[in-house]
């Protein structure tokens, strides 16, 4: 799955996702990606977020919407992402998932749920100080 948030130079925010879902899913199954607030969310007055992982679990918590609301309340993007992951952890400690967050000023962050086979999450960034896309990573919590 790809989840993406773009903020243009005047602060307009858009978000989106695209996926072919889980391997060997039951036909008809749909994950979180096409659900607004789950797979991604954008509000130009607060920020944007996108989620990736186990859509069957993540869609129950509307993580992208929740992250944007945390940023609206003043949380920085990294903390907003971490709070979302923590909330899901309370119910599903072994879920596979990560969230990226960006606020209206262009600050960004990410968080993921630590598992034995998933200890870091890699994501991509491009902003005016760079001459090419940069891969960044966060340690999962």
């Amino acid at each position: 799955t790809i989840g993406m948030v773009v903020i243009d130079k005047t602060g307009h925010i858009a978000a989106g996702t695209s996926t072919n879902g889980a391997k060997f899913k039951i036909p008809g199954r749909v994950g979180d990606s096409p659900i607004a607030g789950a797979g991604s969310y954008a509000d130009s007055t607060a920020g944007g977020a996108a989620a990736t992982g186990d859509g069957d679990i993540m869609m129950r918590f509307l993580p992208s919407y929740q992250a944007v609301e945390y940023m609206r309340k003043g949380n920085d993007p990294t903390l907003a992402c971490q709070k979302v992951i923590s909330r899901i952890q309370q119910y599903y400690p072994e879920f596979f998932g990560a969230v990226i967050c960006a606020n209206t000023t262009g600050s960004y962050g990410a968080a993921c749920n630590k598992l034995p086979e998933f200890s870091q999450f890699h994501f991509m960034i491009y902003h005016p100080l760079q001459s090419q896309p940069i891969e960044e990573k966060v340690d999962c919590i």
Binding site: A14, G16, G21, G31
Partner: protein
Amino acid sequence: SGLLPLVINTWPFRGATLAAWQNLQAGGSALDAVEKGCAWCETNQCDGSVGFGGSPDEYGETTLDSMIMDGDTMKVGAVADLRRIKNAVGVARKVMEHTKHTLLVGESATQFAECMGFPNEELSTNTSRFLYLEWLGHNCQPNFWKNVIPDASKSCGPYKPSRVLKQHLHTSEKINIHSHD
């Protein structure tokens, strides 16, 4: 601290990031950039988890889900269980711009896509067919059924509901870095 404009995306899909950025630099909107970035992954089958030829379902078919959202207007367009159309995010954009709905699914979404001018194409590839046949050869393991007869942890379907509902501890066994939303 932040700088604008900004492109950020999940996973190390460099080409998608670059496609979105270049679209912005060419004068595209944030919405245009998201569409171009996601479409890049659909065309290039990022990670096998985006676009055609990946993640076959229990019938061996690849279906696509996509969504796009405008943070200025809160307009959303989305498609789910989209069949035989490669450019899912493009169809999602059309849902947003040419309907008053938010989400179209399944064969009806395919019909909508065809009306909007998208070609009807096979989404399976030799890779996805191989994955599917391998899965069949391993007694359809892993799968997403529970509380069914025959035991889904050992056998392929068709399944019927079992009378006993057991508690199943959630694990990340079936969804992981190689198979995810």
